[in-house]
C-alpha cells in the first residue's frame, strides 16, 4: 500500500485541505449535542436565562441583594451598571424594555465586561440566592439557606430593613459562614438557583420572560442549523476533494501501468499472464481508487471524530469517561473474538466454494464423458460432498456473524443505561446537568461509532493493499528488453539477411535451455522453414528475431548488425510478423489491415488481401472491407483471421517476413495457393516460416529441424529425408509411403 504513496504526493495540499475540512466537519457535528444540551439546560430548565447576571435590576432589589456582599464587591458591581431614573436622558429608550421604570429606578447593565469576571458573577449569584432565601421566609428549598443561628426574624418584620441595621462587620462575618454552606452546593446549583431569582426580578420589572425563553430556544436552534449546514458543506467539500484525488491517482496509475506494460517483452508477459495484467490495469486500480476515497473520508475522519468526542465528553463530565473506555474495550474485544472465530473460516469458505465451482465446472466440461461412462452418480456424489462442506462452514460462519448486530446493540444500549445510572447520581449531587447527560450519551455513541468505523477499515485496507501490491509489482518491473543508449542504424540498402550465431535461450527460472547453440543464415529471396515437435523451441526461435526475447548467449544479426544494437522501433520496421493465432483488433477489416500502414490505399489493401487469399471471403461479406470486426475477432473464423493477419503483414512490405505457424488454420488448398502467391509477391524478402506440416515447408530452400532446442538438421527436404532421423519421423507420421518416395 505504502509503495504507491508517491502517487498521492502531488495532492498533498489538497489532502491537507481535506483534513482541515474534516476538522470543521467533526467540530460542527460535535457541537450539535452541545446546543441540544443548552436548549434543555438553559432554554427549558433556566427559562432561557443564561447567567445569574441580571440585565436589569430594580434599585430596591439591588439594595437588598447588596446586603449579602461586601462593600468593595457592591461597588465593583455597580461599576458595570447604570441607574436609570425618570430624569435620565435615556429613560425613554429603556422604558419599553423595563416597564417598571415608571414606578421605580432601575439599574441597567451597560458594561458586558462583567461577564468575564467569574468571581464577581459568583458573588452576585450567591447574594441573589441569599436574598431570595431571606425573602421567601427562610426556606430556600433547603435548610442551609436559613439565616444564621441566633438571628431570628420577627414575624411580619421586613427582614431587609433589619439586615440594614446590622453593622457591616457582623454582616460580613455572617456572609462568610453562608458562603461556606453555599459552596457545598457547587457552582452549578448556585447558578441554576439564582437564575430563578433573576427570572422573578425580570417579571417584577415587567419584562416578557416567555419571550426571553423562546428567543433563546430559537437562537440556539438557529445556531444548530448553521452548524449542521457547516458540517454538510465541509463533508461535501471533502467528498469533492476525495473523489478528485482518488480519480486522479487512479488515472495516473492506470496510465503508468499501461505504458509500462506496453513496453513489456514476452518474458514479462509470460511472468504475469495476460489475464492478470488486465486485472492489474483495471480492477485493481479501481479498488485502489475506492479505498483512497474511503481513507480520506473515513480513516482520517474517525480519529478526529473520536478524539473530538472524547474531548467534548470530558468537558461534560470527566468522571464518566471510564464508561466510554469500557464500551470501546468491550466492543473491540467482541469484534476481535468474532473475527478470530470467523476469519479462518472465511478463508476456508473461499476454498470450499472454489472446490464446488471446480466440481461443477468439471461436470459441465465433461458432460459427454460423464454420460458415456455412466458416472453421473459419481459426479453427483462429488458435488454433494463439496456442497455439504460449503453449506456446513457457511452455516457456522453465518451463525457467528449473526450474533454481531444484536450484541453490539446490547452493548450500546447497556452503555446508555450505565451513563444514565451514573449520571443520575451525579445530577442528584448537582455535579452534572440533565442536558449534559443527554449530550454525553450522544458523545459516547459518536466515539463508539468512530471506533467501529476504524475496525471496518481494517477489513477494507487489506483487500486494497493486495491490489496495490499487484499494481506495484507491475510498476517495479524493469523490462528486460530495452533500447540501447547509443543505437546504431541499419545500412541504407537493407537486404534482410538474418543470421543466428550460436544463439542460446533459456526462459527465466527454467532449468534447461530451450534453444542451444543455434546457428544459421536466412538469405533474402529464400524461404527458411523451421520444423520440430511441440516444445522443440521453434516458435521461440522465430520470436527472437523481432526481439520478443533476447538471446542469453550468441547473437542475432540482421545484415550483420546485432539487433540489440539498434532501436526496437527501427528493427521492427523491417519485419512483417504473422502470429500463430490470427490476432485482430476491433474495428473493420480495413482498419485491421491498415494497422500495418496507415497510408495504404484501397488498391494496396486489395492486393494484399488477394495474395493472402482473403479476397474470396471478404467479397462475400456485405460490407466488404468495411465489415466490422468485433473485439478478439470473434466474428471471423480462425482461418479468416490468419489470412487477414497475413494480408496485414504483406501491407507493411518489410524485408523480412516471419510466419509463426500461420497456416495451421487454413485448409490445404488455400495453404498451397497462398504459399505460391506469397513466393511470387515477396520476391527479395527473407521468409522464415515455422510450420508443423511437412507439406507446407517441403519446398523451402532451407529447412531447420529442431529437437529439444537443438538444431538437428539443416537443408532441403530431400537432403533431410536422407540424413535427418527426426525429420523422417515427422514426415512418416504425416505422409504416406507413396508420397515419401
Amino acid at each position: 500500500m505504502l509503495k504507491l504513496i508517491g502517487y498521492l504526493k502531488p495532492y498533498t495540499v489538497f489532502i491537507l485541505v481535506a483534513i482541515a475540512l474534516l476538522f470543521v466537519q467533526a467540530l460542527s457535528e460535535l457541537a450539535l449535542p452541545d446546543y441540544m444540551s443548552r436548549i434543555v439546560n438553559v432554554g427549558i430548565q433556566q427559562a432561557g436565562i443564561e447567567d445569574a447576571l441580571p440585565q436589569a435590576i430594580s434599585q430596591e432589589t439591588f439594595d437588598h441583594v447588596s446586603l449579602f456582599m461586601s462593600r468593595e464587591n457592591k461597588e465593583a458591581i455597580l461599576g458595570y451598571y447604570e441607574l436609570i431614573t425618570k430624569d435620565s436622558s435615556n429613560y425613554q429608550d429603556y422604558l419599553k424594555s423595563y416597564p417598571a421604570l415608571e414606578t421605580e429606578p432601575v439599574y441597567v447593565l451597560v458594561n458586558d465586561d462583567i461577564g468575564k469576571n467569574e468571581e464577581l458573577k459568583l458573588t452576585f449569584g450567591k447574594a441573589l440566592m441569599a436574598y431570595s432565601g431571606i425573602k421567601s421566609g427562610g426556606a430556600l428549598g433547603n435548610e442551609n439557606f436559613a439565616p444564621p443561628s441566633g438571628f431570628t426574624i420577627p414575624e411580619g418584620a421586613d427582614p431587609f430593613k433589619m439586615m440594614q441595621l446590622i453593622p457591616e462587620s457582623v454582616r460580613l462575618q455572617m456572609l462568610t459562614e453562608m458562603d461556606k454552606m453555599v459552596d457545598v452546593l457547587g457552582e452549578s446549583m448556585i447558578k441554576q438557583s439564582s437564575v430563578l431569582v433573576v427570572k422573578e426580578e425580570y417579571q417584577k420589572l415587567g419584562m416578557d420572560t416567555d419571550r426571553i425563553q423562546s428567543r433563546y430556544v430559537f437562537r440556539t436552534g438557529l445556531m444548530m442549523v448553521l452548524m449542521a449546514l457547516l458540517s454538510t458543506a465541509a463533508t461535501i467539500l471533502v467528498a469533492f476533494i476525495a473523489s478528485k484525488i482518488a480519480a486522479a491517482v487512479a488515472r495516473n496509475l492506470r496510465k503508468d501501468v499501461f505504458t509500462k506494460i506496453e513496453n513489456f517483452s514476452n518474458v514479462e508477459f509470460a511472468k504475469f499472464s495476460t489475464a492478470s495484467l488486465i486485472t492489474r490495469t483495471t480492477n485493481d486500480i479501481t479498488q485502489i481508487q475506492l479505498v483512497i476515497v474511503m481513507i480520506i473520508r473515513m480513516v482520517f475522519y474517525a480519529p478526529i471524530m473520536g478524539v473530538g468526542g472524547v474531548i467534548r465528553a470530558l468537558e461534560k463530565s470527566v468522571s464518566m469517561s471510564w464508561i466510554i473506555g469500557l464500551a470501546v474495550i468491550i466492543l473491540l474485544g467482541m469484534i476481535g473474538i468474532v473475527f478470530a472465530i470467523a476469519l479462518p473460516k472465511f478463508k476456508k469458505i473461499q476454498k470450499l466454494i472454489d472446490r464446488l465451482n471446480l466440481v461443477t465446472r468439471e461436470n459441465l466440461s465433461g458432460l459427454m464423458v460423464v454420460r458415456a461412462f455412466n458416472t453421473q452418480k459419481f459426479e453427483e456424489k462429488r458435488f454433494r460432498e463439496a456442497n455439504e462442506d460449503v453449506t456446513k462452514t457457511n452455516l457456522f460462519v453465518n451463525r457467528v456473524m449473526v450474533s454481531m448486530m444484536p450484541i453490539m446493540m446490547l452493548v450500546m444500549n447497556g452503555i446508555v443505561l450505565l451513563i444514565v445510572w451514573v449520571g443520575a447520581k451525579q445530577i442528584a449531587e448537582s455535579s452534572l446537568q440533565v442536558g449534559d447527560m443527554m449530550a454525553y450519551i450522544q458523545y459516547a455513541m459518536q466515539i463508539i461509532i468512530s471506533f467501529l468505523m476504524l475496525t471496518m477499515i481494517f477489513i477494507f485496507i487489506p483487500r486494497a493493499s493486495v491490489s496495490a501490491n499487484r499494481v506495484h509489482e507491475v510498476l517495479k518491473v524493469d523490462p528486460e528488453i530495452t533500447d540501447p543508449d547509443n543505437p546504431k542504424q541499419f545500412p541504407k540498402d537493407f537486404k534482410g539477411e538474418v543470421e543466428f550465431r550460436n544463439v542460446c535461450y533459456r526462459f527465466p527460472g527454467a532449468e534447461e535451455n530451450i534453444l542451444n547453440h543455434i546457428s544459421f543464415t536466412a538469405k533474402p529471396g529464400e524461404t527458411t522453414a523451421i520444423i520440430g515437435s511441440t516444445g522443440s523451441g521453434k516458435s521461440t526461435l522465430l520470436n527472437m528475431i523481432p526481439r520478443f526475447y533476447d538471446v542469453c548467449d550468441g547473437q542475432v544479426l540482421l545484415d550483420g548488425v546485432d539487433i540489440r544494437a539498434v532501436k526496437q522501433h527501427d528493427l521492427r520496421d523491417h519485419i512483417g510478423y504473422v502470429p500463430q493465432k490470427g490476432v485482430l483488433f476491433s474495428g473493420t477489416i480495413e482498419s485491421n489491415l491498415k494497422y500495418a500502414d496507415d497510408d495504404a490505399t484501397l488498391e494496396e489493401i486489395k492486393k494484399a488481401a488477394e495474395i493472402a487469399q482473403a479476397t474470396e471471403f471478404i467479397e462475400t461479406k456485405e460490407e466488404k472491407y468495411q465489415t466490422p470486426i468485433s473485439q478478439g475477432g470473434i466474428n471471423v473464423s480462425g482461418g479468416q483471421k490468419q489470412r487477414l493477419s497475413i494480408a496485414r503483414a504483406l501491407l507493411k512490405r518489410p524485408e523480412i517476413f516471419l510466419f509463426d505457424d500461420s497456416f495451421s488454420a487454413l485448409d490445404f488448398k488455400t495453404d498451397a495457393a497462398l504459399r505460391r502467391k506469397l513466393k511470387q509477391e515477396t520476391g527479395d524478402s527473407t521468409l522464415i516460416i515455422v510450420g508443423q506440416r511437412i507439406a507446407t515447408i517441403k519446398n523451402a530452400e532451407q529447412i531447420l529441424v529442431l529437437d529439444e532446442g537443438k538444431l538437428v538438421g539443416k537443408g532441403r527436404h530431400d537432403e533431410l529425408m536422407k540424413s535427418c532421423q527426426t525429420y523422417q519421423e515427422i514426415a512418416r507420421s504425416q505422409l504416406s509411403e507413396e508420397e515419401l518416395s
Binding site: 449542521a228 452455516l395 444484536p406 443527554m438 521492427r572
Partner: protein, 627 residues
C-alpha cells in the same frame, strides 16, 4: 468443449458496481416475472413454515422491545429533570432513585430479551437458509446430468456455473439477512411512528415531513449522478476493452510498432474515465452528507419544537430525548426498506434464473419397458437417419449404413461436415429426428440410457480428466474395477511407462487445469480409461490431433490395443488408421457422400480421392463440434 470455448466468454459481466456507491445506483437487475418467481420461492420456503413464522415473530418482538427503549429511557430523564427542578425550587422530594433503578433494570431486561430474540431468530434463519441453499444446489447438480446436451449448445458453462454459485448465493444472503431485516425494519417504522405520535403529533408531523424532503433531494442527486455513472461504466468498459485487446495482441502491437498509438488512445479514454469517475464518485458521496443534513435539520426542528413544548409543559424533557432518538431510528429503516426492495428484485432475478434452469426440459423420458438381457456384440446399423441440431436446419439428411461387430469404421470429411454428430447420435446424446439406429438389432431408444452407454467407450480430442489422482482418473472408466484391472488398463495404454517417472506415480494429483501432465500423457490416460471400461463399441474422435509426433506413436500403439475385437468408430486424423478401416464414411456438409474402403474410394476418384490428395489435412477442428 475445450477451455477456450468462445461461448464461455459470452457470460454477461456481473457488475460489482465499481462506483461502490449506495445500492440505488447499481445492480438494476429486474426479474421478468416477479410474482411467479416469488410464488416459487415462497413454495420453497413453505417447507420451513413453522420455523419461519417463529423467526418473524421473534424479529418483530425483538424490534418492538428495542423501540420501547427510548420512551422508557425518556421517563428516567424526565424523572431526573423533575426531581432536580423540584430540588432547585425547594419543592418535592428530589430525585427518586428507587424508581430510576427499577426502570433501568426493566430496560436492561428489555434489551437483553431483544438481543436473545434477535440472535435466536438469526440462528434459526441461518439454518433454514443453509437448508434451502443446499437443496437448490443439489437440484441444480442433479439437473445438469439430466439435461439434454442440446441445452448446453445454447447455454455456456459460465452461465450454469454462475447459477450454482452467484445466484444461489444471492438467494442465501437474502434469506439470511434481508428477509428478517425487512420484518425488523417494518416493525421499527410502524412502532416508531406509533411511539412518536404518542409523544406529540405535532412533532411527529414535522418529523414525517422530513422524509419527502430527503427523498426528493436524493432523487435529484441520483438523477444527476446516473448519467455520470453510466458514462463511467461505459468508459470503464472502453478501458477494459482496449487493455484486453492490446495485451491480448501484444506481440502484434510490438511487431507493428503500435505502442505509441495504443498509449495515445488509452490516455484519451483514461482522461474521459477520470472525469466521469470523480463526478460519479463525488455525486454518490454527496448522498450521505445530504441525508445527514436533512436528518440534522429534523434534529434541530425537534429540539426547538420539543424545547418549546417543554417550556409550555406540553411534553417532558425525557420525551424530547426519546423523540430525538426515534427520529434518528426512523430514517434508517426507511432507507433500509428501500434498499431491501431493491435486493428483493435482484434476488427474484437470481431465483428466476435458478428456477428457469431447474424447469428446463429434461432428456426425453426413458422407454418404460427397456429391453434387457440383450447379448451385446457391437453390431450397429443406421437406418435412414435424419437429424439437425436445429429442426429447421437438417444436417444429416438420409444416412444408412450397417456395421458389423469388430469392424473398424473411419469417418472422414472436412471441418464442419458433421462427423462428430454421428457419434453423438449413436450414444443418444441427441435423438434422431427420423429414422432409427439399431444396436445389436434393437433400436437404441429401446434401451435405458444407462444400458446403452455401457456398450460404448470414448476417447475424445478434448482430454477431459478431473481433479483427482491419475489412478482415480483411469478408474473413472469403470468405478467398480479391481486394482489389477486398472493396472492392466494402464499398461495396455502405455500409461504405466510414464507414470513411473512422475513424482507421485499413480497418486499424482492432477491439478485444476490438469497442466501437470502433458497433453500426450492426458490422452494416454483417457485411452486407459476407455480400455478399462471394456466397451463393445469404441469411439475415437480426433484422439491424436494435438500431440507431437513421438507421443503420437505411443498413442497409436495404445489405440491399436484398444481397438482389438471391438467395433470402432474413428473420426480420423491418421492416414494409416483410415486406410486399414473396414469401412470409410466420407462426409461432407452433413451427409455421407461416399462410403467404401480405401481402395474402392480411391478408384472412384471422387470426394475422398480429392481429400486424400490434398494430404488429408485438417488439423483445425472447430471446438463447437465437440459439444
Amino acid at each position: 468443449m475445450t477451455q477456450d470455448n468462445p461461448k464461455t466468454r459470452r457470460q454477461p459481466p456481473r457488475h460489482g458496481g465499481p462506483g461502490g456507491g449506495p445500492g440505488i445506483m447499481t445492480g438494476e437487475e429486474k426479474p421478468k416475472n416477479f410474482k411467479a418467481t416469488l410464488r416459487k420461492l415462497v413454495k420453497e420456503l413453505s417447507q420451513y413454515k413453522v420455523r419461519i413464522i417463529i423467526v418473524f415473530i421473534f424479529a418483530a418482538l425483538s424490534a418492538f422491545f428495542m423501540i420501547l427503549g427510548p420512551k422508557v429511557l425518556g421517563n428516567i430523564t424526565t424523572e431526573l429533570f423533575e426531581g432536580l427542578m423540584n430540588k432547585i425550587r425547594g419543592t418535592g422530594e428530589g430525585i427518586n432513585f428507587d424508581s430510576i433503578k427499577q426502570t433501568i433494570l426493566f430496560l436492561l431486561g428489555l434489551y437483553v430479551s431483544s438481543t436473545l430474540l434477535a440472535y435466536t431468530q438469526g440462528w434459526i434463519m441461518s439454518g433454514v437458509s443453509a437448508k434451502i441453499t443446499y437443496r437448490l444446489r443439489e437440484q441444480i447438480s442433479l439437473k445438469i446430468n439430466n439435461l439434454p446436451l442440446k441445452y448446453f449448445d445454447k447455454t455456456s458453462q459460465g452461465e450454469v456455473l454462475s447459477r450454482v454459485t452467484n445466484d444461489v448465493d444471492t438467494i442465501s444472503r437474502t434469506l439470511n439477512q434481508s428477509l428478517t431485516q425487512m420484518i425488523t425494519s417494518l416493525t421499527t417504522v410502524i412502532g416508531v411512528i406509533f411511539m412518536m405520535f404518542s409523544i406529540s403529533w405535532q412533532m411527529t408531523l414535522v418529523a414525517l415531513l422530513i422524509l419527502p424532503l430527503s427523498a426528493s433531494l436524493i432523487a435529484l442527486v441520483v438523477k444527476q449522478s446516473q448519467k455520470y455513472f453510466k458514462k463511467q461504466q461505459d468508459y470503464l468498459g472502453h478501458v477494459n476493452g482496449h487493455v484486453e485487446e492490446m495485451y491480448g495482441g501484444h506481440v502484434v502491437v510490438k511487431a507493428f510498432n503500435g505502442e505509441e498509438d495504443s498509449i495515445k488512445k488509452f490516455n484519451g479514454i483514461n482522461d474521459v474515465l477520470y472525469d466521469s469517475a470523480w463526478k460519479s464518485q463525488f455525486l454518490s458521496g454527496m448522498m450521505m452528507p445530504i441525508m445527514m443534513f436533512v436528518g440534522n435539520i429534523g434534529y434541530v426542528l425537534i429540539s426547538i419544537l420539543g424545547g418549546w413544548f417543554a417550556v409550555k409543559r406540553i411534553i417532558t424533557v425525557g420525551d424530547i430525548q426519546a423523540f430525538i432518538q426515534y427520529v434518528r431510528q426512523f430514517t434508517q429503516p426507511v432507507a433500509q426498506i428501500a434498499n431491501i426492495m431493491n435486493i428483493f428484485q435482484q434476488t427474484a432475478a437470481a431465483a428466476e434464473r435458478v428456477f428457469e434452469f431447474l424447469e428446463e426440459d429434461e432428456e426425453i423420458a426413458e422407454t418404460p419397458n427397456p429391453v434387457k438381457n440383450v447379448e451385446h456384440n457391437g453390431n450397429v446399423e443406421f437406418k435412414h437417419v435424419q437429424f439437425g441440431y436445429d429442426p429447421e436446419k437438417i444436417i444429416i439428411k438420409d444416412f444408412s449404413c450397417k456395421v458389423n461387430k469388430g469392424h473398424n469404421i473411419a469417418i472422414v470429411g472436412p471441418t464442419g461436415a458433421g462427423k462428430t454428430t454421428m457419434v453423438k447420435l449413436l450414444m443418444r446424446f441427441y435423438d434422431v429426428n427420423s429414422g432409427e439406429i439399431l444396436l445389436d438389432g434393437h433400436n437404441i431408444k429401446d434401451f435405458s440410457r444407462y444400458d446403452l452407454r455401457e456398450n460404448f467407450g470414448m476417447v475424445l480430442q478434448d482430454t477431459w480428466l478431473y481433479n483427482g489422482t491419475i489412478w482415480d482418473n483411469i478408474k473413472y472408466g469403470r468405478l467398480d474395477a479391481t486394482d489389477e484391472e486398472v493396472m492392466a488398463a494402464a499398461k495396455a495404454a502405455h500409461v504405466d511407462a510414464f507414470v513411473l517417472m512422475l513424482p507421485d506415480g499413480y497418486s499424482l494429483m492432477l491439478n485444476e487445469e490438469t497442466t501437470n501432465v502433458s497433453q500426450g500423457q492426458k490422452q494416454l490416460i483417457t485411452i486407459a480409461r476407455a480400455i478399462l471400461a471394456d466397451p463393445k463399441v469404441l469411439i475415437l474422435d480426433e484422439a491424436t490431433s494435438s500431440v507431437d509426433t513421438r507421443t503420437e506413436v505411443q498413442i497409436q500403439k495404445a489405440m491399436t490395443n484398444l481397438m482389438k475385437n471391438r467395433t470402432s468408430f474413428v473420426i480420423a486424423h491418421r492416414l494409416s488408421t483410415i486406410r486399414d478401416a473396414d469401412l470409410i464414411l466420407v462426409m461432407n456438409e452433413g451427409d455421407i457422400v461416399e462410403q467404401g474402403n480405401h481402395q474402392e474410394l480411391l478408384e472412384r476418384d471422387g470426394f475422398y480421392a480429392e481429400l486424400y490428395k490434398s494430404q488429408f489435412e485438417e488439423d483445425f477442428v472447430e471446438t463447437e463440434e465437440l459439444i
